[in-house]
């Protein structure tokens, strides 16, 4: 493995993000090639965390744009500060300024409210990490606009002219695949799919994020959640949920999983009524037994 990728992996782990080789490789390549990184995967597998860790690694600012339906340019890019503009117009009236001079004044940078995209482009102290979260929630029209920004890293504001990126930001785009995102945007980005972690990786994550959890408990939790994910659930629990659950169990001073505690705290990982009903006490006991047996087999072998 290339030294830089290996180092990146280690650096991310030091910041609490247990990456695997494919994540480290993707981040390395996105940084080297200067391309946005499109990250797909189920909710809670750590897509957003990549951007956080990246910004900490680079010692730069994380600028986040949360997408939602109806997101438009005035929320994502810029907006004029209307109250200030109106105030200025009133004041100018009294002083008898010409219309042209006034227009120049109120449509200047001082009256511009920078939204995340513009802020990422105009950041002076080195490139920012721009996280465009859940792009699949935005409208297709916005996706098309975003494509333009990510291609040229410049935007045009009619009143001001074209603003070019001072430093091209590192861009992470995430998607939960609630809808297919357009091919053009997909082509613009490098691609990373994050699957649910295997038991070993999940144990490593738990050990790193929940220091209070013993090796044995972390293993049992990881195997139990792995067993849950193998079932036909409406919402499969992600790593974020596993971490919450491990924290809850630590708070309850559990050293091992037992069916009663699991049943009482399962709301940390199972967040759908239908899924919860599909897990009667007998099923939970079975999963707990399997998780603990796995620990025994691991210790014996």
């Amino acid at each position: 493995m290339r030294r830089e990728i290996h180092e990146l992996d280690g650096e991310m782990a030091a910041l609490g993000y247990i990456a695997d080789e494919s994540i480290a490789t993707a981040v390395f390549l996105a940084r080297e090639l200067g391309r946005p990184l499109l990250v797909e995967g189920d909710a809670g597998v750590g897509k957003t965390e990549i951007a956080r860790v990246w910004s900490e690694l680079a010692g730069t600012e994380l600028i986040r744009l949360q997408c939602y339906e109806g997101l438009d340019v005035s929320t994502a890019l810029y907006e004029w500060n209307y109250p200030r503009q109106l105030l200025r117009v009133r004041m100018a009236e009294a002083s008898g300024q010409t219309a042209e001079a006034m227009e120049e004044a109120i449509f200047s940078r001082a009256y511009l409210l920078e939204r995340p995209l513009l802020r990422a482009l105009t950041r002076v102290d080195g490139p920012a990490v721009l996280l465009i979260d859940e792009i699949d929630r935005a409208d297709e029209a916005f996706e098309a606009f975003l494509l333009e920004v990510l291609s040229d890293f410049q935007v045009t504001i009619p009143e001001l002219g074209t603003i070019r990126a001072i430093h091209v930001p590192h861009v992470v785009v995430t998607s939960n695949a609630t809808r297919e995102i357009g091919d053009a945007l997909r082509r613009r980005c490098l691609y990373l799919y994050i699957d649910h972690p295997d038991v070993a990786k999940e144990v490593a994550i738990l050990r790193s994020r929940v220091p209070g959890a013993s090796e044995a408990l972390a293993g049992e939790i990881a195997r139990f959640v792995g067993g849950l994910r193998a079932r036909d659930l409406v919402r499969r629990p992600g790593v974020a949920e596993t971490i919450d659950w491990a924290r809850a169990l630590c708070r309850l001073h559990s050293d091992h999983l037992d069916p009663d505690t699991v049943a009482a705290t399962l709301g940390c990982v199972i967040k759908d009524q239908h899924d919860r009903r599909s897990l009667p006490p007998a099923e939970i006991a079975g999963l707990v037994a399997a998780a603990r047996a796995g620990a025994g087999a691991g210790a014996g072998g």
Binding site: Q85, F142, D195
Partner: protein, 396 residues
């Protein structure tokens, strides 16, 4: 592992390998563009070429290999990249590209859906934004000839009747398939709508900062996406012609309509609805749909839809319409479970049932009662008048 050694630029040998890999992927139906290959080449000079796993990871990242294509990639990678290494990889063969009931290859399907409706004349007409608010709900009687058609049960309709019904079907389709978006667009100042501060202010400069008129903005009406699931089994045969006419109307107005027929199997028929003459279309369908008007297994077919198409085709903007009598010969628990999943994703789920027109109708058919808790609306669909009564329910 005797790959070309790390060097400053990608060697010829490396580029040849890359080109062979890309073409193998294309043959397997994985779309790889030239720009992807260029990215891949740029990536290859930056990684450790001696590490096959790293090469694989870098290629997957730069060639944008999605999980669904992973098996194809592994195969192509093993064949074109590792062949010289004399170490055959025991990767599992890729799953078949298409499920048993689907006639359109999965990879081509989105393309087919995008292009077969590409006739610009089929585009939904640009509607003035305020129209849906002012449009009558369709309860008013039209011409007398139309009135006749209104109460004629669909099973008695011939092709001429269907043609006469087209305007009403179109209107119904438009109501069903449009909705207000959440974006704002500017409109004429006389129109109703929210104040648009940005444009108002801009305009006020002409009058010395005095806001004489307020600019307005509204949320435009957008064509929604539709998924239509038509039961074509024996008990529905009499209605199938009408259903198809309805499906065609929907396709005319909706931005994206996907149509499936089901009886014992689920078949994606979107691509065949472009045919202009209903008779030709019906004949084609009969040929293509296995066991047209045979028995029904609604549960299995809905479950197949959920498994293969739900994520790709249904989102919070999609209206799902099931046209069926709910007379199921299969597992009805599956009907309920599948409908629950569909509802969890869709904007709205409607079930049109031709039997529901009978005043004595109770949704007691096992399949129907299993689906009922997961529907936004169960409505009769035995004649045009019944469909018209649907309109007020479909406000967006």
């Amino acid at each position: 592992m005797t790959r070309p050694a790390d060097s400053a630029g990608p060697g010829n040998d490396l580029l040849v390998h890359l080109a062979r890999l890309a073409s193998a992927l294309r043959v397997a139906g994985v779309r790889v563009s030239l720009s992807d290959e260029i990215d891949a080449a740029r990536a290859l000079v930056r990684i450790d070429l001696g590490d096959v796993d790293e090469v694989r990871r870098a290629l997957r990242c730069t060639l944008r290999i999605r999980p669904a294509d992973a098996a194809h990639f592994e195969q192509a990678f093993a064949r074109t990249w590792l062949d010289a290494d004399d170490q055959p990889r025991s990767d599992r063969p890729p799953p078949p590209r298409q499920g048993p009931g689907v006639k359109v290859p999965a990879r081509l399907a989105p393309l087919a859906a995008a292009t077969d409706g590409g006739d610009p004349r089929n585009e939904p007409p640009e509607e003035p934004p305020e129209e849906p608010d002012d449009e009558p709900d369709g309860d008013r009687p039209g011409a007398s000839a139309q009135a006749l058609h209104r109460r004629k049960p669909f099973e008695l309709c011939d092709e001429r009747d269907l043609a006469a019904m087209e305007p009403i079907l179109d209107r119904l389709a438009r109501r069903l398939a449009t909705r207000r978006t959440r974006r704002w667009v500017p409109v004429d100042a006389r129109a109703r709508g929210r104040a648009d501060l940005r444009r108002s202010l801009r305009r006020s400069l002409a009058t010395g900062g005095e806001l004489v008129t307020l600019a307005r903005r509204v949320r435009p009406v957008e064509a929604a996406r539709l998924v239509l699931l038509c039961d074509t089994s024996g008990s529905m045969e009499a209605h199938a012609r009408f259903l198809l006419a309805f499906a065609r109307s929907l396709r005319r107005v909706a931005r994206r309509t996907e149509v499936f027929a089901f009886n014992t199997e689920l078949v994606r028929i979107t691509a065949w609805l472009g045919v202009t003459r209903p008779a030709v279309m019906a004949a084609r369908l009969r040929e293509a749909v296995p066991d047209w008007s045979g028995g029904t297994r609604i549960g299995e077919c809905l479950a197949a839809f959920v498994a293969r198409h739900l994520t790709a085709l249904v989102d919070s903007r999609t209206v799902v319409v099931v046209l069926s009598d709910g007379l199921d010969r299969g597992d009805t628990a599956l009907v309920g479970e599948s409908m629950r999943r569909i509802r969890a994703r869709a904007r709205r789920v409607l079930w049109l049932n031709p039997l529901a027109g009978d005043p004595r109708f109770e949704p007691t058919a096992a399949g129907m009662s299993a689906a009922l808790p997961h529907l936004d609306l169960l409505a009769p669909a035995h004649d045009l008048a019944s469909l018209e009564r649907l309109l007020p329910h479909l406000r967006t």
